[in-house]
Amino acid sequence: MALSPQDILHIARLARIRVTEAEAETARGQLNSIFGLIEQMQAVDTKGVEPMSHALDVAQRLREDRVTEPDRRDKFQAVAPAVENGLYLVPKVIE
């Protein structure tokens, strides 16, 4: 499969990345070459191999349910662009 220029613009919009036409064209070439690589790998016989969701064949470690994080709001908000009454302020979003 190959991506069309429209696909690239759609993906860029979903990722909130503004791209020029030239950038989109470059990205299309790069992404299509990745699809090419995937096509090569499709040729490998994987019959009987359990699909993996992670490259490492180990299990997730679990943390005990305890509160360990102190309140560090002041430190975090010192580097935020805008705060008020303990809230982070962002450009207005309306549902």
Binding site: L14, S53, L62, R63, T68, D71, F76, Y88, L89
Partner: protein, 480 residues
């Protein structure tokens, strides 16, 4: 044309862990903004999620309680979308391999039992909160809730009316609070319901196009929203319009649903396995540990009440509507030293006087001002014939008003039922002498006259004569 409603519910239950699903921040409700938001929760670069065992344990318990498959291997995925209260740009959730699949929950509507199948239940993190009040044209973000563990419970489209949907939501609410995995507080958003609603002509196999009503936070709104939505969809179709798949919001003030986004605007979430989290592998020891921690479940308890105490399925269902109610019942029985008759009496009083008084005062059984042992004392006075049912209601009202325990109220108000047959005979004699006309009518075959005489005797005793004894004595005297 006759229409059939089809409903499936998605319920977000907030789990009762101390800390968040991927960080050690507190999940306590109501803290000052952003004081419970760690580097992980606000998504500072370079942080990694560390999975909370408490969330996994609660999900396992739920799976076991509904007879579901608990997937020994389950996987976390990223659900990608942009919104300021989701600072990572993705929500960690479970798509292809959720922790719980299948299972079922029984509901009762108008005395008929029905089984609702569950599709799945998966773990995910909650988002933060956006405050749209005016901050100089900006939006305020509080990330205290970001990362709070949720179990999203998805049903099959097995419900056929708003009533069934409410019954299912209530049964689910009862179960998750009963097994202690969710506090069930709907005002605080611990139990949020989304309803997928469609209609189809009766007899049609395929489902109609559905619309999803988001974020219903009370059972009443759930019922109102579905009723409105069903009427709206039928009208649309009968007017010749096709239903478009959409997400809608319910406005409690107008009682209407309105479009939030159409299918064309629907999100493209681009799920993929989260590379920051390895597959979760559950060992049998943990699952068995959770099984051992499960209490006797509502349905098991209801079955036992029917078997041990001869209660009806309806009564047993009422008593197991909540853990608080079942605990109250059992504590009352303990104090009563109950047999089958005592259990039936306790069940009747709990579902009758006590339930209606609690309802009126907006209290639940755990908050009852009349303790189980106090109710048991009142019931003892009914069982030993000190009180008629009518007098017992008066004593109950006095106890509710804080006038003291049953025996103290009976003493103070002089409410003891009169069971002294000599004293009752004297009253009966007086009444017969004073009402020769009624006596004549009775002898002439008018049964109503008998009731009038009973009424006179009860009145003369100021309601305290034992009604059964009055009947016996009157019959004997009139026959003689």
């Amino acid at each position: 044309m006759k229409w059939e409603t089809v409903i499936g519910l998605e319920v977000h239950t907030q789990l009762t862990t101390q800390s968040k699903i991927f960080s050690g921040s507190s999940t306590a409700f109501g803290a000052a903004p952003n004081t419970q938001a760690s580097a992980v929760d606000i998504a500072l670069p370079g942080v990694l999620p560390v999975l909370n065992k408490g969330a996994i344990e609660r999900a396992i318990k739920f799976g076991l309680a509904i007879g579901a498959t608990v997937n020994r291997v389950n996987v976390f995925d990223r659900k990608n979308y942009f919104y300021p209260d989701l600072p990572k740009g993705y929500q960690i959730s479970q798509l292809a391999k959720p922790i719980v699949e299948h299972g079922a929950l029984a509901i009762q509507v108008d005395g008929v039992e029905k089984t609702i199948r569950l599709t799945r239940a998966h773990l995910e993190e909650d988002a933060g909160k956006s405050l749209h009040e005016d901050f100089h044209g900006m939006t305020g973000i509080d990330l205290n809730r970001a990362g709070t563990p949720l179990l999203e419970i998805v049903s099959e489209p097995d419900m056929r009316s708003a009533k069934e949907a409410v019954a299912y939501a209530k049964a689910l609410h009862n179960l998750v609070t009963w097994i202690g995995i969710c506090d069930g507080n709907m005002q605080e958003g611990s139990f949020r319901v989304d309803a997928n609603v469609s209609v189809r002509p009766v007899g049609q196999q395929e489902f109609g196009t559905r619309r999803e009503i988001k974020n219903l936070n009370s059972f009443r709104f759930l019922e109102q929203a579905i009723d409105y939505e069903v009427r709206w969809q039928i009208e649309q179709i009968e007017d010749g319009h096709a239903i478009q798949q959409a997400t809608v919001l319910f406005d409690p003030d107008s009682g209407e649903t309105r479009m939030m986004r159409s299918k064309e605007e629907a999100h493209d979430y681009r799920y993929f396995p989260d590379p920051d989290l390895l597959p979760v592998k559950l060992d049998e020891a943990l699952i068995e540990e959770m099984r051992a921690e499960l209490p006797e479940l509502p349905q098991q308890k209801a079955a036992r009440y029917q078997q041990d105490y001869g209660l009806s399925a309806y009564d047993a269902g009422l008593l197991t509507q909540s853990l608080a109610q079942a605990n109250y019942f059992e504590a009352t029985l303990d104090a009563l030293g109950a047999d089958v008759a005592g259990a039936k009496l306790a069940a009747n009083w709990m579902s009758g006087e006590l339930a209606s008084a609690l309802n009126k005062a907006e209290l639940d059984f755990a908050q009852s001002p009349i303790a189980p042992a106090s109710l048991a004392d009142l019931l003892k006075r009914i069982a030993d014939n000190t009180l008629s049912n009518k007098l017992a209601k008066e004593v109950f009202a006095a106890m509710w008003a804080g006038e003291g325990e049953a025996d103290a109220v009976i003493e103070a108000r002089g409410l003891k039922q009169m069971s002294d047959s000599g004293a009752i005979e004297k009253i009966v004699d007086d009444v017969l002498a004073a009402n020769p006309k009624s006596v004549e009518e009775f002898r002439a075959g008018k049964d109503k006259a008998f009731n009038a005489l009973v009424g006179q005797v009860m009145k003369a005793s100021r309601g305290k004569a034992n009604p059964a004894q009055v009947n016996d004595i009157l019959k004997r005297k009139l026959a003689g």
